[in-house]
């Protein structure tokens, strides 16, 4: 009996201690795939978040009066349905910040659910910090006050890409190919629309969609692309579809540039190796390799020491963490997310690890306006390469404030 009492007392004390500890931390729910076919990407992202929180916030004394950032992982198996369940679990645990990036389908479900939740429960509202889902709708017709996007969306990237392509005098024919689903279609229509506006003389010699994840051999597609006489091709493919298509076109004699959204990291850089040099390009935000700032170089070195097989493939993750820390400090609170959102809105962020130019979280639609680069796949010295392959990405062209002139249709309702 006595021991039971002691045990109960101990439990109560431990419980108290736990509540005290949790009041000291700012919890951030990471809702992304940690199992299944996309687990590699999700796990790598989680490592980048944990590392960024430790390195950029906690080791510098945390936010406010010493509160630490804590990343709490939730596995959504890249399913929108599962994500909503995990979101509820996160909210029940008192978490007020949600980060997610893989798949715009998931992001669309989350942003709706969070907007609804925040309207109904003004006492425990949450913010959605989207670091990778690039469906333009999220900061246009589907925008809301609780959603912030730190990546450039698909149209902004295409805008930057077509700016660069438009300057190429020799460009006459372009082939557009993608996976047969919403993102592939969005990329294709943006490419056709923007090329027509910027270079009406350029001919789109092919515009097609292939079944997603079903094509075993891309050789026939490669033949069509080569035979069409295209000088350049654009694709939004990712994963094995990206690799299969890219390798097939290069092997079968295509020598022009291959502009991609996702043609790097997660094994793709290593698999292309020498063959991709000179043809594989990628449009994204982020830093050069090695980055120009000494601090950023040290950051990558430290990350590679901790995760030798990992990649800093999503530079924007550090921006999410640093901007959130700034906003919390500015608002003077981590629990009143409206104040934090107001601080984030319109925030100018000048000392990103990766960029010398300021970034702005546009107030109209909560879209981060930043530099977008066209990278080339080239030999890169360790540890700034990807997949430890000796190859990586270096700047070829940079567009400052990419897509800032793209109009937004967002009509935001503020609380």
């Amino acid at each position: 009996m006595k021991s039971l009492k002691k045990f109960a007392l101990g439990m109560a004390v431990a419980g108290l201690a736990a509540t005290a500890a949790s009041a000291e931390t700012v919890k951030i729910a990471y809702i992304d795939p940690l199992s299944g076919p996309f687990a590699a990407t999700g796990t790598n992202g989680l490592h980048q978040y944990e590392f960024a929180a430790d390195k950029l916030v906690n080791e510098k004394g945390g936010v406010l009066d010493g509160q630490m950032f804590e990343i709490v992982p939730f596995d959504n198996k890249i399913s929108p349905k599962e994500s909503l369940i995990q979101l509820q679990v996160a909210i029940d645990q008192g978490i007020r910040y949600v980060v997610q990036g893989n798949s715009s389908g998931v992001a669309n479900a989350l942003t709706d659910a969070i907007a609804k939740h925040n309207n109904r429960n003004p006492d425990d509202r949450v913010l959605f910090l989207n670091y990778s889902a690039v469906d333009p709708a999220l900061t246009n017709e589907k925008c809301n006050f609780w959603h912030f996007r730190f990546d450039a969306h698909a149209d902004m990237k295409m805008d930057a890409l077509t700016d660069v392509m438009a300057e190429n005098e020799d460009l006459e024919k372009v082939y557009v190919i993608g996976q047969d689903y919403s993102f592939g279609k969005a990329v294709a229509s943006a490419a056709v629309r923007m090329l027509a506006a910027k270079r009406p003389d350029v001919e789109i010699v092919g515009n097609e969609l292939h079944p997603i994840g079903k094509v075993q051999d891309f050789t026939p597609y490669a033949r069509k692309i080569v035979s069409s006489g295209a000088d350049a091709m654009i694709t939004g493919n990712w994963g094995s579809d990206m690799l299969g298509l890219g390798k097939a076109v290069i092997e079968n004699g295509f020598s022009g540039p291959i502009y991609t959204y996702y043609g790097a990291a997660d094994g793709i850089t290593a698999a292309f190796g020498e063959t991709g040099v000179g043809s594989l390009k990628l449009v994204a935000e982020g830093g050069n390799n090695p980055p120009s700032k000494e601090a950023a170089q040290d950051y990558i070195r430290a990350f590679k020491e901790k995760y030798p097989d990992g990649n800093i493939s999503q530079a924007r993750i550090t921006n999410v963490i640093e901007m959130l820390a700034m906003a919390v400090n500015e608002a003077g609170t981590a629990t009143d997310v409206v104040a934090v959102a107001n601080a984030l809105e319109g925030m100018e962020f000048t000392d990103s690890l990766w960029s010398d130019n300021p970034m702005v979280m546009r107030a109209d639609d909560h879209q981060l306006i930043q530099e977008v680069h066209i990278y080339g796949h080239v030999p890169v010295e360790a540890p700034f390469d990807f997949d430890n392959s000796g190859y990586g990405l270096k700047y070829e062209n940079s567009i400052v404030n990419a897509g800032a002139d793209l109009p937004t249709t967002c009509e935001m309702e503020r609380p």
């Binding site: 076919p37 687990a39 590699a40 047969d180 097609e208 969609l209 292939h210 079944p211 994840g213 079903k214 094509v215 075993q216 051999d217 050789t219 026939p220 597609y221 033949r223 069509k224 080569v226 035979s227 094995s240 690799l243 299969g244 390798k247 092997e251 079968n252 004699g253 997660d266 094994g267 793709i268 290593a270 698999a271 190796g273 063959t275 097989d309 997949d387 392959s389």
Partner: protein, 318 residues
């Protein structure tokens, strides 16, 4: 016209690769009467083993050693797994091979991760063999063609000209009788299973650098292999060859020519809706041949099953 010739060659490569998988599977299927769901997984294992070996000893050692390892694994799995399950009937066997496929996929992900591994053609074959009107044909693909044809000839010789082959052929049709004549039929089964998986492994070794070596490679090829043996007919080497080539060409040509459903429907006399995006038939009107390409082999299978259930070259009903 030049594109047509290139497509013929590309389809030949795809078809012959498929043949290396089907030939083993069709023998296994007709002997044991069980669909080996894990067959494509052995193909994947072949690619991964060869990749691992190529890191230390180069591509050519992997080409020889990897299929042997896969074949021995296959034989052991038959001897100590499948044979024990066999006595409980076909359904447990089927479930066994299905479980094996999942197990192998997890095994591969555990050791090599979920990402694609950089398994590339050897430097000696990394050049352009010839080009037809700007379309280059890599030397590696020529090598693939010769490997597959060589394998076919060797198999054909063994199965039709040697004593072992005759025993196998007999065991295919009348296993009890062959057993009564004093042949060790379980041993033959184990041998066929081992050789069948070794050929799948060899297919993986030479396909890995072209098709990509990743944990999903078994899955993408798994179903099409069954189509191939059903169309070709059980136990028939020629059937497997013809069906594989047919499927290879269907897939290649379907992906190559942008025939549109719109043209077909207009030709058939239907009127194109003025506002396509408001039409209920929008999805049908905007279909193109490359989009339906992946289902054509299955369509072929259904047609063959209806018209000729024993397959193109099959000798017995199942």
């Amino acid at each position: 016209m030049s594109l047509f010739i290139v497509n013929i060659l590309d389809g030949l490569v795809t078809g012959l690769l498929l043949f290396m998988l089907c030939s083993g599977l069709t023998l296994i299927f007709s002997m044991m009467g069980v669909l080996n769901f894990a067959h494509a997984s052995f193909y994947m294992l072949g690619a991964y083993f060869a990749y691992q070996i190529s890191l230390f000893a180069g591509f050519w050692v992997g080409l020889i050693v990897a299929p042997i390892i896969v074949g021995v694994m296959g034989a052991l799995i038959e001897r100590y797994g499948l044979r024990r399950v066999h006595q409980y009937g076909h359904v447990p066997e089927l479930i066994f091979t299905f479980g094996l496929a999942l197990l192998i996929e997890e095994f591969v992900q555990f050791f090599w991760g979920r990402q694609q591994v950089p398994y590339n053609p050897p430097a000696a074959l990394d050049f352009t063999a010839f080009a037809i009107a700007g379309n280059t044909f890599p030397a590696y693909k020529v090598f693939m063609i010769f490997m597959a044809i060589g394998l076919f000839l060797v198999l054909l010789y063994i199965l039709t000209r040697t004593r072992i082959g005759m025993t196998i052929q007999a065991a295919l049709s009348y296993p009890e009788t062959v057993q009564n004549l004093g042949h060790n039929v379980p041993m033959v089964f184990m041998g066929v299973f081992g050789v069948g998986t070794a050929m799948a492994g060899l297919a993986g070794v030479i396909a890995g650098p072209v098709m990509g070596t990743f944990p999903g490679m078994a899955f993408t090829l798994g179903a099409i292999v069954f189509v191939c043996i059903v169309v070709g007919g059980l136990g028939s080497l020629w059937g497997a060859l013809v069906a594989s080539l047919l499927i290879g060409w269907i897939q290649t040509f379907a992906a190559s020519y942008n025939l549109r459903m719109e043209d077909l429907l207009v030709w058939l006399g239907f009127e194109k809706p003025m506002l396509m995006w408001e039409s209920a038939w929008q999805d049908l009107w905007t279909l193109t041949l490359p989009q339906v390409g992946p289902i054509l082999p299955y369509l072929l299978m259904v047609i063959v099953l209806v018209v000729r259930p024993q397959g193109l070259f099959g000798k017995r009903e199942t």
